[in-house]
């Protein structure tokens, strides 16, 4: 039942996200619980909701969020980010064979090369926190995308806040 509820919630979130991308609302969802991606459609009838334990989809369902946000030109892990990373660490502890990549991103208000370095800082800040929570550093790689891959496309505070981020991606 709990899983069904989750699935329903995700479906609702998906509808909301789809609507968002068309309407470009002024206020976007808060950082925790970042927009989930579409679950595999093949799993519609799977008793697990189509999600394999230890998979990327399971990670996205289990952790509070795959994304932590940062202040302008900052890379410190704040209270909200700690909660998210704690939930990621808990999941990673459960699946010790899973490896992850932490992607660091910056908003468009920095120059290109500096933002590559800043994204690296953010990815490593998240990585270091996970390592401090007991995740083996060998399981975590980092990559910086600088300002090359924004998720929010506006040139406004709301968009910039969403783009200053570190995203944890399960790689297998």
């Amino acid at each position: 039942m709990a899983r069904l509820t989750t699935t329903l919630l995700m479906a609702t979130a998906l509808v909301a996200t789809a609507a968002c991308s068309k309407k470009r609302p002024d206020v976007l969802p808060p950082a925790p619980g970042g927009a989930p991606e579409a679950p595999p459609s093949t799993g519609a009838t799977d008793p697990n909701g189509g999600i394999t334990p230890g998979s990327a989809a399971d990670f996205k369902r289990s952790a509070q969020s795959d994304t932590v946000l940062f202040g302008l030109d900052m890379y410190d892990i704040d209270g909200t980010a700690r909660g998210i990373l704690d939930s990621q660490a808990a999941w990673l502890t459960r699946y010790p064979n899973v490896r992850i990549t932490v992607e660091g991103h910056a908003d468009e208000r920095g120059t290109r090369e500096y933002n590559l370095a800043l994204g690296d800082r953010r990815a490593n800040a998240a990585k270091n926190y996970l390592v401090a929570r007991g995740i083996a550093p060998g399981r975590i790689t980092t990559i910086s995308y600088g300002k090359e891959r924004p998720v929010a496309l506006g040139s406004d505070e709301e968009s910039w806040a969403q783009n200053r981020r570190a995203v944890t991606v399960v790689v297998g």
């Binding site: 290109r112 500096y114 590559l116 891959r149």
Partner: protein
């Protein structure tokens, strides 16, 4: 007649002293060639030694013995420079101005109608600032051909019209010249090329006159002759001839425009040069980025990579045979070298850490770059052939955006060690690091001018603006004022900057722009798609 570039001497770029900077109007001294005015990047002495530095057959060898006696003899035979751009650089091909069968060319100093001694008008002088508000009127009629011949580049009569348009476009884009509208210039007959109708051109308002011709040669090459006249003094100022394969026909026009520009301004040439940049297309969240290369004026743009991986910050090798850039191909974003001849790409530094912000040293032997490790970014250099990088900075914080001084002895870079991005200079070995930017806001992407006198940068104060300052940090001047102008790159003569301008919001796109050191002459550089990260290459040989 020359345009005096003043009003900027506080920043150290006054007129270039050279043998062609004659102050007596309209008379080209015997033996003087426009090549004498050409400041060659990083090798001024070569530029002052004669015309052979333009001879690719001599330079391409890459050795120090690039001044051949053949070239010297050629220069002494005539007072004109015959620069063979062709790969088939034969001695005969280099002496084709004026060609046999063209109007008899009198010696330059014996032009019919030349003003008699004692009645010479005062030299024309236009400073840069005045040049912007009142650029020198110049007539550039279509270049005639004696016989229309079909070539792989098109029929020679059409090429003649296109050549004059390219020359006019180059000169107009410099901001210092005002070419007469093509409707205001009459077609000239072939014999007129060396015998200008001074009375007519004097009535047109033009102060200078560029005439030329085009001829298809029996060996498949094209010859373009280019002549510059002082209309009021009624004299020839200089001439050059170019032999090019049809595929390089536009270069002949750029060389002609460079001849006019250097002769009238005393500045170094820059029109015959190329730009590498990142061609952009697609949605903002998932831009497709491809390496691209084009001529300085936006012509001949072509892609070098397919766009399956993000590519950033391409920069020319000094010999223009390769490009260093950053790519997301492979496991870790890293620096690669793209060989223009073969299309081959190779990883520069074998490392698990991200490497980026590459730039060649002026001698081409090293690549300066940044490496991010565990959240800390420092500057390194590595042999262009590969090997173990040498660390140059080790401050906590982000040190990136390194660029060599033209003599290779110093490096300018940005660092946020003080809290925000600021500009620093240091010796090439990493010693003596000193901050030079102290204005409000942050400073990024410093690039040392090929003349050594200035550093261009991006200033971040909410908006991004392109600016310049001296290598000591004095004389800061902002040149642009838009929402986001980033990443300046110097023209070969150090008088123009190309950068990219990012638009706001979801639909915001990046375009290439240029601005000269006055900040007045700002122009969009045309590209087939959107463009960013331009890097101007050296003058072509």
């Amino acid at each position: 007649m020359r345009i005096r570039l003043c009003g900027t001497s506080a920043l150290g770029f006054g007129p270039v002293t050279s043998s062609s900077a004659v102050t007596s109007p309209g008379v080209v001294p015997e033996g003087s060639t426009p090549a004498d005015a050409g400041v060659q990047l990083g090798d001024v002495s070569r530029g002052s030694r004669g015309p052979s530095h333009l001879d690719p057959g001599v330079r391409r060898g890459g050795s120090e013995g690039r001044l051949s006696s053949r070239a010297a003899a050629r220069a002494s035979l005539t007072a004109l420079l015959a620069s063979a751009l062709t790969l088939l650089a034969t001695p005969a091909a280099a002496q084709l101005v004026p060609p046999a069968g063209t109007p008899a060319a009198p010696a330059p100093a014996q032009q019919p109608g030349a003003a008699p001694a004692g009645q010479t008008p005062p030299p024309l002088e236009v400073d840069v600032t005045g040049g912007i508000s009142a650029p020198m009127p110049i007539a550039i009629p279509p270049m005639p051909t004696q016989s229309v011949v079909q070539t792989p580049a098109g029929p020679t009569d059409r090429l003649g019209r296109q050549l004059s348009e390219i020359v006019a476009n180059d000169l107009r884009n410099s901001g210092l010249f005002n070419p007469l509208a093509s409707g205001a210039t009459r077609a000239i007959a072939f014999p007129e090329v060396t015998a200008p109708a001074y009375d007519y051109w004097g009535g047109s308002g033009a102060q200078a006159l560029v005439q030329g011709y085009i001829r298809a040669n029996g060996d498949g090459t094209l010859t373009v002759g280019c002549y510059l006249y002082d209309v009021s003094a009624r004299t020839e100022l200089t001439r050059q001839g170019f032999v090019v394969p049809p595929s390089d026909w536009r270069r002949a026009a750029h060389k002609c425009a460079d001849m006019v520009y250097t002769r009238l301004t005393g500045e170094g040439a820059y029109f015959d040069s190329r730009v590498v940049y990142v061609s952009e297309t697609g949605p903002k969240a998932n831009r497709i980025k491809r390496l691209a290369i084009m001529d300085q004026d936006g012509a001949n743009s072509r892609f070098l990579t397919a766009g399956s991986s993000i590519v950033l910050t391409p920069r020319f090798a000094p010999n223009q045979q390769s490009i260093v850039y950053m790519s997301y191909v492979g496991r870790t974003p890293a620096i690669y070298i793209y060989e223009l001849g073969s299309g081959r790409q190779r990883l520069v530094v074998q490392n698990v850490a991200t490497t980026f912000a590459p730039r060649f040293s002026p001698d081409g032997r090293y690549i300066l770059f940044s490496m991010a490790q565990a959240g800390n970014t420092d500057l390194y250099r590595v042999s262009a052939a590969g090997g173990t990088p040498q660390r140059l900075t080790n401050a906590p914080g982000i040190d990136t955006g390194g660029s060599y001084s033209p003599d290779g002895s110093r490096i300018v870079f940005e660092s946020d060690r003080s809290g925000g991005q600021q500009i620093y200079v240091m010796n090439a070995d990493g010693s003596n690091q000193q901050r030079i930017s102290f204005g409000g806001g942050r400073y990024a992407t410093p690039v040392w001018s090929p003349r050594g006198d200035l550093i261009a940068f991006t200033k971040i104060q909410g908006a991004f603006r392109i600016g310049i300052m001296s290598p000591s940090g004095s004389g800061e001047k902002l040149l642009t004022n838009s929402w986001q102008d980033e990443g300046p790159s110097w023209s070969p003569n150090g008088r123009v900057l190309m950068f990219f301008r990012q638009g706001r919001g979801n639909a915001g796109k990046a375009d290439l722009w240029s601005v000269d050191l006055t900040g007045v002459n700002e122009r969009r550089v045309p590209t087939p798609l959107d463009g960013s990260d331009p890097a101007w290459g050296p003058l072509r040989p």
